[in-house]
């Protein structure tokens, strides 16, 4: 997802392998042959199972008839697929909206934060501390306060209940974080690399695009991941700024279709949550593969 916004992402898998290769001899030097790694896989599976137990519970409830959801049975004893039948018809458009909002937020966040991170991490010497200080404070403003403030502004601008408006609002969750992360990572890029580019006559802009950004792929993917997840799970901004979205409501609002004032359909709600998790879970696992290993270090070594 985030990779599309970044130059140099094709072929990442290859460079990832390249970066990992040097480690293998080290491993055998440490006296740990490859076959002995099975315990790690087993332990990893156990830990993941523990971590994902609440997800299992969600799946369990989504497959259970309403009359039994509070029986706390460890498996769906009163099994039903009705919840999915209901949800599939109602919720699919909302998934698409969430995807658009999520990706839009990723792009906007990267566009604002990556250059700023470069400036803070490498270019500006004065004012850098003040700015990172301000960013920390910006992170702290309770979303409640922001949402109330945005409402007035959005009304006047006519972006209430629109997707660009929601993307703008959702990006505020991620931007301070993104700038801080970018500046932390970019400040670690060896100065030699930048200077080499500049000696070749590249401008700061070109250096940024050809050297800094590709080297910051880890940070960019991390930022993109977070921006996406925060936008995906945001409820507060959505509920104040995009309530009347109709079919263009994100999935977090779609969930509320099952929460009436006196009656809540947890089975359907959980089924929606399961459906919403599947595409994003796939995305996550795929995105993980793109977090290239040790690129910066590799570049220095060469």
């Amino acid at each position: 997802m985030a990779m599309q916004a970044l130059p140099g992402s094709p072929g990442t898998t290859r460079s990832q392998d390249a970066a990992r290769r040097p480690r293998r001899p080290e491993r055998s030097a440490g006296g740990r042959p490859r076959g002995r790694e099975a315990w790690k896989t087993v332990l990893g599976l156990v830990l993941t199972a523990l971590m994902l137990f609440p997800l299992y519970w969600m799946l369990n409830v989504s497959l259970t008839e309403r009359s039994a959801i509070r029986e706390a049975s460890l498996y769906p004893r009163a099994f039903t697929l009705d919840n999915y039948r209901t949800v599939l018809g109602d919720q699919l458009p909302y998934l698409g909206t969430s995807m658009v909002v999520g990706l839009g937020t990723v792009v906007l966040t990267l566009v604002i934060a990556a250059p700023a991170g470069y400036a803070l991490g490498k270019l500006l010497t004065r004012g850098r501390r003040t700015l990172s200080f301000l960013l920390i404070v910006a992170q702290m403003i309770p979303a409640v306060v922001m949402a109330l403030g945005f409402y007035a502004v959005y009304t006047d601008l006519g972006v209430l209940d629109t997707l660009p408006g929601l993307i703008l609002a959702d990006s505020t969750i991620a931007v301070p974080f993104a700038v801080m992360l970018f500046s932390a990572f970019m400040s670690g890029i060896p100065q030699e690399l930048l200077e080499a580019a500049q000696i070749d006559g590249a401008s700061h802009t070109r250096t940024f695009f050809t050297v800094v950004l590709p080297l910051s792929r880890n940070a960019a993917v991390t930022v993109g991941l977070f921006a996406f997840l925060w936008a995906w799970s945001d409820f507060l901004f959505t509920s104040t700024l995009n309530r009347g979205g109709g079919d263009l409501r994100p999935i977090t609002m779609g969930l509320y279709d099952y929460i009436g004032s006196q009656n809540q359909e947890w089975g359907q709600l959980m089924a929606t949550a399961v459906l919403a998790s599947v595409p994003t879970a796939v995305l996550l696992v795929v995105a993980q593969r793109f977090v290239a290993a040790g690129l910066t270090a590799g570049a220095v070594k060469d």
Binding site: S67, L157, S239, G260, Q264, E265
Partner: protein
């Protein structure tokens, strides 16, 4: 003043960005932006029923109430958020034309200036029963019309009671209810589910016990109030009620009852239909008062209200008038209420409903004798309800401890008198 000017500065600054970043995305103007005197093209409508989506019968029914030459745009909001959304919207003068607002919130909304009164809108409560129309009457003006009503009853699982040898007819007061709970739990089943969650929903379910003990909302610290708190507290302490009652809302408490383990459940008339569709026999009886007889129960349900407008106000109010009339005027109310599973607010129309469907018969007396929550206190109810909710929460946590319960209600009394 200061806030206004600060806001304006902020707006100006933001406007700059808007031009830069959003120029490409043209924003469509809707009917509510029209100037004075212009007829509306869009009428907006909010209700707290997100469970009905755009393709539901309810949505189509509401949309059919659009005044001539307009389309009706319905937005469903979770009940807990609707008053706050309305506050923001009125402040920005883009409020909807009609809102279905939970009845205890109406006085608060009215005194806060969110609602147009009968001075501007021809709100006709018609022949709605006095106890049901009460929340909409403030200082001699009408601020809303009940779209219907619901209330609380005591459901029981006849199979569980039979197995425990309990005759439902023997349950006439608190003592006999406690005996029944003891018998049911001794038989291996669970006792009673209710919603003790913090907030209005918890208070709503607490009031039958509170009023049934003889307590009054004007004195939340009275010995009668403490008795009601003690009753529920003991249920937790004795294991008659699930400990999750402190966080259960009415839906969650109903889900527990649906497992078939519980003998009793305090819940609303909106589950009456669902109760007939279970594997076990679920029957409703009135909630008993402490010393016998049926306890007064609170009225539930929403009011149709018309929020205040600044620009082109009369056009909005006229539209509101037509929509509200279409929903609750002359005989239309039964159609509306049948959709929602509510009782009509008018005795005659209600009788028609009850005659048409036998499941409503046991509820007839309960709804006729139900009390408005805001009848005694008006807009001050909001504060007292909060204090009672805190006291109930503390009582449930005390799990029977008498000192803690009486202290909780003493605190409620002092927080209200402040």
């Amino acid at each position: 003043m200061i806030t206004k000017s600060i806001r304006r500065t902020g707006l100006a600054a933001t406007a700059v960005l808007a031009i830069v970043s959003l120029a490409a995305c043209g924003s469509d103007s809707n009917g509510s932006a029209a100037g004075d005197g212009e007829p509306l093209t869009t009428v907006t409508f909010w209700d707290p029923y997100p469970q009905y989506d755009d393709s539901s019968d309810w949505a189509k029914y509401v949309e059919s109430c659009a005044p001539e030459g307009t389309t009706l745009e319905r937005t469903a909001t979770p009940n807990g958020d609707i008053l706050n959304s309305l506050t923001s919207a009125v402040r920005e003068d883009n409020a909807p034309d009609v809102v279905l607002l939970d009845n205890p919130a109406v006085p608060d909304a009215a005194v806060s200036g969110l609602l147009a009164s009968s001075d501007d809108v021809d709100l006709d409560i018609g022949d709605a029963d006095e106890n049901l129309a009460g929340p909409g009457l403030i200082d001699g003006k009408t601020y809303g019309v009940p779209i219907g009503a619901n209330t609380l009853g005591l459901y029981y699982n006849a199979d569980v009671l039979k197995s425990a040898g309990v005759d439902p007819a023997s349950i006439t007061d608190w003592a006999s209810l406690d005996d029944a709970l003891a018998a049911v739990t001794a038989d291996g089943s669970s006792g009673i589910t209710f919603a003790g969650i913090a907030g209005e929903e918890g208070t709503f379910q607490f009031l039958p016990w509170f009023w049934g003990a003889g307590a009054s909302l004007t004195d939340p610290g009275s010995p009668e109030a403490v008795e009601a708190g003690q009753l529920l507290s003991d249920w937790i302490g004795e294991g008659y009620a699930p400990k999750s009652a402190i966080t259960d809302n009415q839906s969650a408490s109903w889900d527990l009852f649906l497992t078939g383990d519980y003998g009793f459940a305090v819940n609303g008339s909106w589950f009456a239909k669902a109760a007939t569709e279970q594997d076990f026999e679920a029957v409703m009886m009135p909630i008993p008062a402490k010393d016998g007889g049926a306890a007064p129960v609170p009225t539930g349900g929403e009011f149709a209200v018309a929020p205040t407008h600044q620009s082109n106000a009369q056009a909005h109010y006229d539209a509101a008038n037509e929509v509200i009339d279409c929903l609750v005027g002359n005989g239309n109310q039964v159609t509306t209420d049948d959709q929602l599973g509510y009782f009509a607010a008018n005795a005659e129309e209600r009788q028609t409903q009850i005659d048409a469907d036998a499941i409503w018969t046991p509820w007839a007396d309960a709804i006729t004798n139900a009390q408005g929550r805001t009848s005694d206190l008006g807009a001050d109810y909001t504060g007292t309800s909060g204090a009672l909710s805190a006291a109930e929460q503390a009582s449930l946590n005390a799990a029977g401890d008498e000192d803690a319960v009486s202290q909780a209600f003493a605190e409620a009394a002092s927080s209200v008198s402040q």
